[in-house]
Assembly symmetry: C2
Homo-oligomer: 211 residues x 2
Amino acid sequence: MGEDKKISMAVIRRLPRYFRYLSDLMQLDIKRISSKELSERMHITASQIRQDLNCFGGFGQQGYGYNVEYLYNEISKILGTDKRFTCIIVGAGNMGNALANYENFRRRGFDIIAIFDVDEKKIGTKINGIEVYSNDKLPEFTANNKVDIAILTVPNKKVIDVAKQITSLGIKAIWNFSPTDLRLGDDVVVENVHLSDSLMVLGYRLREKGY
Amino acid sequence: MGEDKKISMAVIRRLPRYFRYLSDLMQLDIKRISSKELSERMHITASQIRQDLNCFGGFGQQGYGYNVEYLYNEISKILGTDKRFTCIIVGAGNMGNALANYENFRRRGFDIIAIFDVDEKKIGTKINGIEVYSNDKLPEFTANNKVDIAILTVPNKKVIDVAKQITSLGIKAIWNFSPTDLRLGDDVVVENVHLSDSLMVLGYRLREKGY
C-alpha cells in the first residue's frame, strides 16, 4: 500500500508530524487511537487525518480507531526513516553551529560528516566533533566522500554562488537556510527553510486571540 | 472579505508563502498572474491556489488571472504585516545568536528587544546590538516592558521549566526551538519549530528521485 500510488507533497509534508506524534504514543504504550483523539492532540481536523491516513492504507475501524504501531511503521517506511543520509554544512556561523549541535538529526538518519567555511580562524577547528574545512576543499571532499545533502548556512548574498558550486560538484539535495528561495533545476531537490513564515503565523494567532 | 469568516489554520499556514511570492512579483513589477503560473512558481496545485485565495476574496478572472497588488494587500491585512511585535530570546547559545542576527524578523514586524541567559560570561554583552540579561531579570524586565513573544532557544531539558516561568509572567506567545512540543493551555499561543521535519521531507524527496 502507499508504494503503489503517488502521495501528494501536501500529505508528505505532514508525515513527519504524524511520525513524531505516533512515536510519542508508542513510548506511552498506547496501542490505538481514534481520529478524534489524534485530531485533538495534533490540532488537525479529524477529517483531514482520515483523508491523510487513508492515502497509505491506514484505515481506521469504526469503534476501534487506528492501530498506532501499524501506522507508525507504515509512515516510517514511506519516510524511509531506516535510510541514512550524509550531510555537509557550508557556513560555520551561528546557524551552522546550531545545526551541527542539533541532537535530533543523527537520530533521524542524517549524519553531518564535514563543515566548510572561508574563515581561516574556523578552518581546522571542530564543532561537536565535526571538522571544519576550507571551502576550497569542497571539490576534493565531494570527490572522495558520498555527500547526499548540503546544508547551506552562508550569508544571503553568497547563497546563489555557493548553491551553484555545490550542484556542479554533483550534490543533489540542498537544505537552504538563507531567505533567498533557491531554484536549481529539476534534478536538484531543495528545501528552503523560511523561519519568518512560522513567526508570522505566531503573530497572526496572537492577534486573533485579541492580545 | 475574509474578516467575515474564519479562515482555517491550514490556509493561514500557507499565507506567509503567498505573501513572499506576491511580494517578489511586485518587485518584478508584475501586475497580474494566472493560478497556473503561480502554481508553477510555488509548487502548489492550481486548484489548491484557487481554493486558498477564494477564502479571502481573491477571485481570479477567467483570462485575466489574479491582481498581484490586490492579493498582496489582502494577505498583508490578514497576516497583519503592519503590526509590530516585541520579542525576547531566552537562551543565548548558537541558535539564539543566529536568530538575534536574522535580518528578516525586524522587516516582518518582529523586534527583538532583549536576550536572556544563565551564563555569567554572556550577561552584559550584546548580540547584534541587543543586550543579554541574566534570566533572574526576567520578572523585572517583563514588568517594565511589553513583551509579546518569547523565543525559546534553551536546552531541551530546560524548556518546560522556562516555558512555565515565561507564561507565569504573562507572556502569551512562545516560539519554541526545542524538540519538545510545548502545550501550555488555551490562553498561550505556541509555535513549535521542528527543523527535522523539513529535513525528513528533503530525505523523502531525494529517495523518491532515486538518487
